[in-house]
């Protein structure tokens, strides 16, 4: 086991663990934000630079700081390493700058974006963004297109995290889209007329940290915070059938994978579960999902209406009341 200190909290992790995953083991406020890393996708990470942290002490053997900030998602823990995240002025300053970079070409169209309320970029901006934009130049613009029969691509909103590309490669096993061109002209595209179409293609919606890939069957139906997320399952031959239903009254508005507190799905689900099963009778409903206190979804206090629950402010988590 290796010992690591992050923001003065010490944790023991196995060899081969990244700083980010060690931080997630501790949990709470010291966990760096991650826009491109996705633990279930091999090769992801390192690109968005929001998880940069400072290494104050490289290891027991080499007690020197690293001059540049390092991406915590792809830097391995060494024994005796001392990491500074929220206690480092430099880290917070650079994170602010990186948040600004991610936003300069972003349309800031949250009022009409289906992802609003569950968007990693929105959360990042809320915590680390500047109050006003300093960018007054032209923004890149793309027209929205259908990249799958039920999947909309708003390239304007994309932050080029490559998660959907890895998903196509590793989960869908059939890649017809990718990142084309380069620099700030880079875009997600199929290049030729083509659809991302396969039993698991819908997962690219779930892995997208922003509103670039959205579910056409849910488009403009409701703001996510007006819907009630419920854990549900069904017998499915293609996937585990364990999903989150996003309900409005008795109607199923949307089906997604069950996401953890880092917005990663627990299990990838199939398109049949996601797009075809929109009746309550299709599902065995287990109960309301736990929603992070900071999420706007909890502003709807839906849980109080459905099942007694309280928010535990010291933990920053929602806990079910028995």
């Amino acid at each position: 086991m290796l010992r690591l200190t992050i923001d003065n909290i010490t944790v023991e992790v196995e060899e081969g663990t990244t700083i980010l995953n060690a931080a997630r083991k501790i949990g709470g406020k010291i966990v760096p934000p991650a826009m491109c890393y996705y633990s279930k996708l091999k090769g992801s990470g390192g690109k968005c630079r929001t998880c940069l942290v400072k290494i104050a002490n490289t290891s027991e053997m080499d007690p020197r700081p690293i001059p540049k900030l390092v991406p915590s998602c792809s830097t391995l823990v060494q024994n005796g390493m001392v990491v500074e995240n929220t206690i480092s002025e430099q880290v917070l300053k650079e994170r602010k700058a990186i948040t600004e970079f991610l936003l300069i070409n972003h349309p800031l169209d949250c009022p009409v974006c289906d992802q609003a309320g569950e968007c990693d970029l929105q959360n990042l901006s809320y915590e680390h963004g500047l109050e006003e934009t300093r960018y007054e130049e032209e923004r890149r613009e793309f027209a929205p297109i259908d990249i799958g029969e039920k999947i909309k691509l708003h390239m304007n909103r994309c932050i080029l995290c490559y998660r959907c590309v890895y998903t196509a490669e590793q989960i869908i096993n059939e890649r017809v889209h990718g990142v084309l061109y380069r620099g700030d002209k880079a875009e997600i595209s199929t290049f030729v007329e083509n659809f991302v179409e396969n039993d698991f293609s819908g997962n690219i919606i779930d892995v997208c940290p922003v509103g670039a890939l959205t579910d056409r069957t849910f488009r403009f139906k409701s703001r996510v915070w007006f819907t009630n997320p419920m854990d549900a399952h069904r017998n499915c031959e293609k996937c585990s059938g364990k999903v989150a239903l996003w309900m409005f009254g008795d109607d199923v508005y949307r089906v997604t994978g069950r996401k953890d507190k880092y917005n990663e799905v627990e299990e990838f689900i199939c398109n049949e579960c996601r797009f075809e099963k929109k009746k309550t009778s299709d599902w065995i409903i287990e109960g309301p999902r736990k929603i992070n206190r900071t999420s706007v979804i909890s502003q709807n206090h839906y849980e109080k209406l459905t099942k007694q629950s309280i928010i535990n402010p010291t933990e920053g988590k929602t806990e079910q009341q028995e």
């Binding site: 390192g46 690109k47 540049k68 970079f101 991610l102 130049e137 380069r182 620099g183 700030d184």
Partner: protein
């Protein structure tokens, strides 16, 4: 010898052919290495020479070779980085065009040292005409038993192939080059792991610049100890400097490190002074990415010492008053050049060449260019200069590969040393709109 080692024989007619090159003593380093030395001894010789990577970073070559994973059972690869694309740099092209066998000889010795059986020359796509020259030289080396199976009757076998790029500066970064050689987009990889362990096809790989590999030939011929005594301090040996801009004699010069910058600019042996008898305004001494210095700081350090053509002397004063030797792309600007326009062109270059993988570089380089474009065209605002400096500060150090730094340094250094020109552009839009090029000093008052 006049400091000439690499280019010693460049004036011999026909030196680009195997026969003449061989008759002039060529390929003796290969004979020496393969017949009388072990790979470890070749590495040791290069380590002793103090040779530093000539591509720009200046990392000690012997040390880089020392990292290669010899325990690995996977094949080793040597890649020659001939993706010379840093604005101001054109030395490798010159070397390959005129002395292709010098490079091949250096590559054979280096591949032997690294126990590599395959080597690739990754050449930038724009240099397609050189592919024919290199391929001709390679086939001559094969025909004469210096490449292929059992070279010179030893058990050592080596194949060298030329591989073209297709227009991407980023592929000069070693991991992007490896990606490109694997037939992918030139997106740099995260390091670690380093190529010495996981390089081409996840095998142990060393990537060296053309000039570095050519220098290995000279080092083996004269001995590492002897080579290390040439030059100045830790800047050992000779360096090819490609001089361009507003000078009388642009071209590629081989210098023994340690001559003064002043001598290099003004002596007849090298640049021959500023064109048209004008005054020197600024120099970018190591390719577009290194900080620009005004005349007084390039000729003398802040402490008043003459600035020398060495890694250390050019870097003296840090980024406040110093710069870097970089790739040796020596760009000279006369008094009539507009630093805002030049900086804009460099910012445009790095914007165009950003791979787009990580956010500070992808978004920041474009922002820099757009701001500079406005300032240059008389549309700048007072707050733009500080904003620009701030953007470059946040690109620097926050990216996967050094392209972010390379994009930031020319901008931050230009603002540091030529802030008055930026201010003038903003204060006098009517003048810069009409006269967007040239020296603004003429229009002051």
């Amino acid at each position: 010898m006049g400091g000439k080692i690499l280019l010693e024989k460049i004036n011999i007619p026909g030196i680009e052919t195997f026969d003449i090159y061989r008759k002039s003593g060529g390929y003796s380093a290969v004979e020496k290495a393969l017949k009388t030395m072990t790979p470890a001894e070749v590495v040791e010789e290069v380590r002793k020479s103090g040779l530093r990577g000539r591509g720009g970073a200046g990392f000690p070559t012997g040390m880089k070779w020392g990292f290669i994973d010899r325990k690995s059972e996977k094949p080793h690869y040597l890649i020659c980085n001939a993706d010379e694309s840093e604005p101001g740099t054109f030395k490798d092209r010159y070397l390959m065009e005129h002395l292709p066998h010098l490079l091949i000889e250096g590559m054979i010795c280096s591949a032997f040292a690294l126990e590599a059986k395959t080597a690739y020359i990754y050449i930038r796509g724009e240099f397609k005409y050189l592919i024919g020259i290199l391929n001709k030289a390679l086939s001559e080396a094969y025909a004469n038993g210096f490449l292929g199976k059992n070279i010179l009757g030893t058990s050592y076998c080596l194949d060298i192939y030329v591989h073209p790029g297709a227009g991407a500066y980023i592929c000069g970064e070693e991991t992007a080059l490896i990606e490109s050689l694997e037939g992918k987009r030139g997106n740099p990889r995260l390091k670690p792991p380093f190529p010495a362990f996981f390089g081409l096809y996840s095998c142990p790989t060393v990537v060296n610049n053309v000039e570095t590999l050519a220098a290995v030939t000279s080092i083996l011929n004269m001995g590492g100890d002897f080579y290390s005594k040439l030059g100045n301090g830790k800047s050992t040996g000779t360096k090819l400097i490609s001089a361009c801009g507003n000078i009388n004699k642009p071209g590629v010069y081989e210098i023994e490190m340690g001559i003064t910058v002043e001598d290099f600019i003004y002596s007849e042996k090298y640049c021959g002074g500023i064109k048209g008898g004008k005054n020197l305004k600024a120099v970018v001494p190591g390719g577009s990415s290194v900080p620009v210095l005004p005349a007084q700081l390039i000729l003398k350090t802040a402490s008043g010492q003459p600035r020398l053509m060495t890694y250390e002397s050019l870097a003296e004063g840090g980024f406040e008053t110093g710069t870097m030797l970089g790739s040796g792309g020596f760009i000279v600007y006369d008094e009539d050049q507009c630093m805002v326009r030049n900086t804009m062109s460099f910012a445009r270059f790095y914007h165009h060449e950003s791979c787009g993988q990580c956010s500070p570089c992808r978004e920041g380089t474009g922002w820099q260019e757009r701001l500079l474009y406005r300032i240059e065209h008389g549309l700048g605002r007072a707050k733009d200069i500080d904003l620009l400096a701030d953007i470059s500060k946040h690109i620097e150090g926050n990216t996967i590969c050094p392209l972010g730094d390379a994009a930031a340094w020319p901008v931050s250094s230009a603002i540091r040393h030529f802030r008055n020109e930026f201010e003038f552009h903003i204060e006098h839009p009517e003048i810069v709109k009409n006269i967007s090029h040239g020296n603004i000093d003429k229009y002051r008052k």
